[in-house]
Symmetry: C2
Amino acid sequence: MQEDRTGTGALGQTHQQARQVSLELPDWAWEEMAALPSQLATPEERMAAVLHFARLNTLHATGGPFAAGIFTRDSGTLVVLAVNRVVPLICSCAHAEVMAISLAQKRLGCFDLGAAGLPAHELVVNWMPCAMCFGALLWSGIRSLVVAGYGPEMEAITGFDEGPLPPDWQQELARRGIAFRGNVLRAESLAAFREFAASGAPVYNARQGILP
Amino acid sequence: MQEDRTGTGALGQTHQQARQVSLELPDWAWEEMAALPSQLATPEERMAAVLHFARLNTLHATGGPFAAGIFTRDSGTLVVLAVNRVVPLICSCAHAEVMAISLAQKRLGCFDLGAAGLPAHELVVNWMPCAMCFGALLWSGIRSLVVAGYGPEMEAITGFDEGPLPPDWQQELARRGIAFRGNVLRAESLAAFREFAASGAPVYNARQGILP
């Protein structure tokens, strides 16, 4: 359907006079966040919550199969758990990491999650961030990145296009003082992407059909 | 001042219960857009409008010295001209390109500016996009990128951190069917960055003071 491919289906109209884009999570996300413990101590607990959100986002048809959480690095206090919102918000920038970083900064009143006076913050994602989100996390001020996995598997399973990371991305993170941990609940994450692929839910790459 | 560095100064409070981040331009931007011709035919005319917005953003203290416009590629119809809003919106993702792409998609009712049924769109920026915005433009659906310049000069003049582009970024654009044109009003753009640097206006890199 044309509506699904262009993203006009969700609202059914254009907004030619729109003067703002509101980055918002679905209502269920706030209800689920309220039901979580306020602190999640281990990387596995944090990732399990992220994977739960990624699955729910597909089940509720409120965005792509990606979720991202911002926690205080040491105590595991949840700041926000966000999900991908590209299609419902009609915004190709509304990846889970951009949603999480933007909402966390708003809630903490600070555009730099690594500013003096704040505890160190960690970003937890159900796969390695894409080209855009890798840049976004560099500017966010986070001091720790935890992913369920990295490499070509997610793209191969789902068909999402992740774009180019810097060839030395692990060193780039290290140079900027951002600790990295990969492969936390990797098998569970890949299983969820296989479920997504089997569901027939839409993949929202730009310029569909014209990529070589 | 602590307030300036952390970005809490603009609103003077935190928003712990905030459930959305609103990507908004300053009022002056809409007034200036209304005063522009509805079509700007040449790359130089489009860039001049972008440079005008970048300068005004510093003058009004409404964000960093960057602006980005989305135009229809062939006819030059203005969709939106946006500016950097990191500090006022307390959002490290609110670079000019992210603002322009997000607002353009909202106004056109489509998360893919390159979707079937839309005219081709062009992104015009007063310097080469940073690591995040390079990814953002790949996902936006634009089919043409025009910049005032690229290379280390802007970072050297202003102190802004742009992060790593893919080593083969020109080929990456070409592979994805995005035409590229550099060095449109380059000297004028660099002169504006020198003015910015001389003004003492804030530079908002993340984790100030801890980068090596």
